[in-house]
Every structure is written in structure tokens, then in C-alpha cells.
């Protein structure tokens, strides 16, 4: 049985229940129960109409749960008032579900958990494993999130930008447990792109595809980070790159530039270079200038300094870096890199070691430590 196909039906089944008058929290539980049932029953007895089967079973689970509830009288009355199987769900129902799960009243971690369960169809256990927290903790996080949005009207328009932020958070979490969150984020963004025609949704999807295409080459067999310039480009996923570029070009043609399209454009320029030496750094700097106009983020200015170092030489990069406050994460790592390119290996080694102490994760710490060690041993020979 194709678990991803099964999960991809989650949002449409859930919205049918909500349209029929089920409250979101109870409907969401019922859909989860139906998914579990499907995993159990389908291998031996696959239904002809998968979605219809899920709707029927989920609705029955919802009614069972409602009846056994202590407040059953009140709720049953309310359900009986609802018109039976409501009108065919509108096309944008899935979109409403994304809005609800990324509602601004939720904290980022709650929005992520709720999106993965209610839109992604993952179980609480899978989400807990992916984020390395106990299942009981994740269950509480999800039920709190549901309570938080319980008063939000389902047809209330939402902000696409908040949804994109949540999906990007999921994407960047990467891989742990038995769920590939990066792949899941791509799937959910792809699904969102079919529900709404928005250039930034396309931009984020393109960005994810282009980054994901390089994943196999980003990690050495020993688990160490491989920098872009040293990656084996034959291992890049050319199908994903082609798709990312195609989606990006269509989005850019609409002339409504946004942050994710600009980031995707930079990723596309990297993907387009047959060798690191053939990278079009001049154009990458121009895209960073666009990005800086759109976001005014210091992280963007930091990355721009790296690009300037490649386009105009390390001295120019260091000059750009001097204008950026040095408390910024990875500032020291960038300084080390530019000094290395400038041939000042002593300073570079010192800065790499310093940057390693400030690294935000183990992979980068080890990478920077190795970089420092390589320069230190080279000088002593």
C-alpha cells in the first residue's frame, strides 16, 4: 500500500467532515482513526474509491466518538440540524486547512505539528520521532494547537506567507526518525501549489526542489558536511533541478518577486553551473541585492558578502563583511573563509576554530574544526 498516497487524501477527507458540520478537532481525530483503519484493512481488501472509503469510515468514527461523549445530547442535536452530506467541497477547502494549521495564534512548533498531522496525515508518533520528543509531549502539543484554533472560523481567509514559513521550517528540519521531513515539506508545498496560484508558493517549491536535489552530495560518507564547491555534481538530482527551474521561471515571469523566488533564483544559478568555477557569481550578487531589498535580513547581507568575495575577490568580500555586525551567527565562519581565499591562512585557521565554538549544530562544528585543522597542519609542514 502506498502510504504517501493514503496520506495525500487527508486534507480532502478532513474538509469534507468539517463541511458536514463536524468541529475541526473531533474531525481531525476521526480522520486519523480512519487512516489507521485503512493501513490495517486495505492491504487485504483495497477499496475501489479510496477517498469515499475514508470519508465513510471517518464520518462513522466521528459519530461514534461524538455519541460516546458526555456532551452527546447537545452535539447530536447540533449535528442533526446540519444538512446531511453537504455540498461538494469547494476547491479551496484544502487551502483553508493550511491556513488554519498555520494560524498566527499558534507558536511555530505548534503550527508545524498541527500541519504535519492534519494536512500531512502523519501520526503523532511519527511526528514525535521526527522531532525527538516523547509521544505524550507531541500529543499534548497537537491537542493544545487544536484548542487554540477551535474558535477560528474555517472559511476565514488566511495569509499565505504564514503557511510558507511553516512549510519552510518543516523542510529545514531535514531527516530523523522514519519520516523524511524535507520530502514531506516538498509534498505539502506541491499540494498547496495546486490549491492556490501564488508566485511565492511556486518560489518556495522551486527553492525546496533545488536544495533537495543537492542533498546526496552535501554529506560525506563519514557524515561530514561537503561544501558546495567540493560537491560531486554528478550526484545532483537533475530531474528535481529541471523541475525547480521550470517552476521558478514560470513564477518569475509573473513579475511579482518575493523572498522565496529570489532565494530559488540563487539556488538555480548554483544548480546551473557545471563546475564550481563556472558559477555566475555576478548574477548571484545581483539576486542577493534583490533579496536584501525584499527582506533587509542581516543573514542575507552575510551571504551576499560571500558572493561578493567570489565575484570581486576576497578583499571585496571582507569589505562587505566589515559592514555587518559580527555578533551574527556564522559571521566568523564567513570571515574565516574569505581570509582563506585571500591567502591569509593563519588568520583563517584562527577564525575557523573560533567559528567552530559558535557553530549552531554539530555538522557545522565538525566541518569548521576540520577546516581549521587542515590549515594548521599545512602550515606546520
Amino acid at each position: 500500500m502506498d502510504e504517501v498516497l493514503l496520506r495525500s487524501l487527508t486534507p480532502s477527507v478532513l474538509t469534507v467532515l468539517v463541511r458536514r458540520g463536524a468541529d475541526f478537532a473531533a474531525a481531525e481525530d476521526a480522520v486519523q482513526d480512519a487512516l489507521v483503519e485503512a493501513v490495517r484493512v486495505w492491504p487485504a481488501d483495497p477499496p475501489r474509491d479510496a477517498k469515499g472509503w475514508l470519508v465513510t469510515v471517518a464520518w462513522r468514527k466521528f459519530l461514534d466518538a461524538t455519541r460516546s461523549d458526555t456532551a452527546r445530547r447537545r452535539r447530536e442535536d447540533r449535528i442533526e440540524e446540519e444538512p446531511a452530506p453537504g455540498p461538494a467541497p469547494a476547491v479551496d477547502d484544502t487551502l483553508q486547512l493550511y491556513f488554519l494549521c498555520a494560524h498566527p495564534s499558534l507558536t511555530p512548533s505548534s503550527a508545524v505539528a498541527l500541519t504535519l498531522r492534519a494536512v500531512g496525515g502523519l501520526t503523532t508518533r511519527q511526528i514525535a520521532q521526527a522531532y525527538l520528543v516523547p509521544e505524550a509531549t507531541m500529543a499534548q502539543r497537537i491537542s493544545r494547537a487544536k484548542r487554540t484554533v477551535s474558535g477560528v472560523r474555517f472559511d476565514q481567509p488566511g495569509d499565505v506567507a504564514t503557511v510558507l514559513r511553516v512549510l519552510y521550517l518543516v523542510f529545514n528540519e531535514g531527516y530523523s526518525g522514519d519520516v523524511d521531513l524535507a520530502a514531506e515539506a516538498i509534498r505539502l508545498t506541491r499540494q498547496l501549489a495546486t490549491a492556490i496560484d501564488h508566485p511565492e508558493v511556486a518560489g518556495l517549491l522551486a527553492l525546496m526542489l533545488l536544495h533537495h536535489a543537492r542533498r546526496a552530495s552535501r554529506t560525506a560518507p563519514d557524515g561530514g558536511l561537503v561544501p558546495l564547491a567540493e560537491q560531486d555534481r554528478t550526484r545532483w538530482d537533475t530531474v528535481a533541478i529541471a523541475e525547480g527551474v521550470r517552476i521558478l521561471q514560470a513564477a518569475l515571469a509573473r513579475d511579482r518577486l518575493g523572498e522565496f523566488q529570489a532565494q530559488a533564483a540563487i539556488a538555480a544559478l548554483h544548480a546551473d553551473a557545471p563546475t564550481a568555477g563556472e558559477t555566475d557569481w555576478v548574477q548571484i550578487v545581483e539576486w542577493y541585492d534583490e533579496l536584501a531589498r525584499l527582506t533587509d535580513s542581516p543573514v542575507v547581507r552575510l551571504n551576499r558578502a560571500v558572493a561578493v568575495g567570489e565575484a570581486d575577490g576576497p578583499r571585496a568580500g571582507l569589505a562587505a563583511l566589515a559592514a555587518i555586525e559580527d555578533s551574527l551567527p556564522r559571521h566568523t565562519a564567513v570571515a574565516a573563509y574569505l581570509h582563506e581565499r585571500d591567502g591569509d591562512l593563519t588568520t583563517a585557521a584562527r577564525l575557523y576554530a573560533e567559528a567552530a565554538h559558535r557553530a549552531p549544530n554539530l555538522a557545522e562544528r565538525d566541518y569548521l574544526t576540520r577546516r581549521a585543522a587542515r590549515l594548521n597542519t599545512r602550515r606546520e609542514r
Partner: protein, 140 residues
Amino acid sequence: MAKYLLLKHYRGAPAPANDVPMEQWTPEEISAHVQYMRDFADRLVKTGEYVDGQALAPEGTWVRYDGEGRPPVTDGPFAETKDLIAGWMVIDVDSYERAVELAGELSAAPGAGGKPIHEWLELRPFYAASPTDPECHPGG
């Protein structure tokens, strides 16, 4: 979404405001303290922020490799060890500010006279699981 370790020390932390050793509290005060810790952990489970918590016995042994085919060397415990960990709690929160807020609450656990101990807790961030932003370093 970041994990933090809250470390509680037997020794090594700066002295708390309410610095009366536990054996000099009343039994009720000890019960109140234990209950506070338990309630705190329960509350964190309910907010979806709890990961783990354990208490450690004070006596420990130092162990090291002693060469091929030889049993490990053991030593200690050393009474003079300056830094002695009493236990930990791991939390998974949305921000550093939230981690500080929770550590502050835990430090308010009641001690002698039912007053908060104002115990110093050490707050240590976990390394993030993976490079969080692929565009952020020369690696790409």
C-alpha cells in the same frame, strides 16, 4: 523548536538565596518541594515542551581506558570535585526566552520555610539536529 538542558547542581553553582541544606528542612517542606518539581514536569508535558528529566545520585566513579587487554581503571569518587550534577530536565521550546522563563520557574521551587530557593540552574542549548538554513554558510 530548540532543545535545552536545565542542569541542577549539588555543587558548583553559585549559592542560592535560600541556602539551607535539604536535611534541615521540615518533612512537609521536602514534600512540597518534590511536589513542585513533579507538577512542573506535568505542566510541561501538557504544554508539549517536555522531553526528559532525571535525577542523579551524588556518588560517581571516574573510569578510563587503560590499554589493550586491560580492564578500565576506576577512581573516585572525589570529595573535592567542584562541579557535581544533581539532575537534569530537557525541554523543547520555541525560543531562548521561553527556556529562560521556564528555568526561572523551576528555580522558584520552595525550600526551607516554604520560600523559593532561588537556586541557580544552568541552561545549555542542544546543537540543532542539522544545518538549519542551507544558504547560510559557504557550503550551500
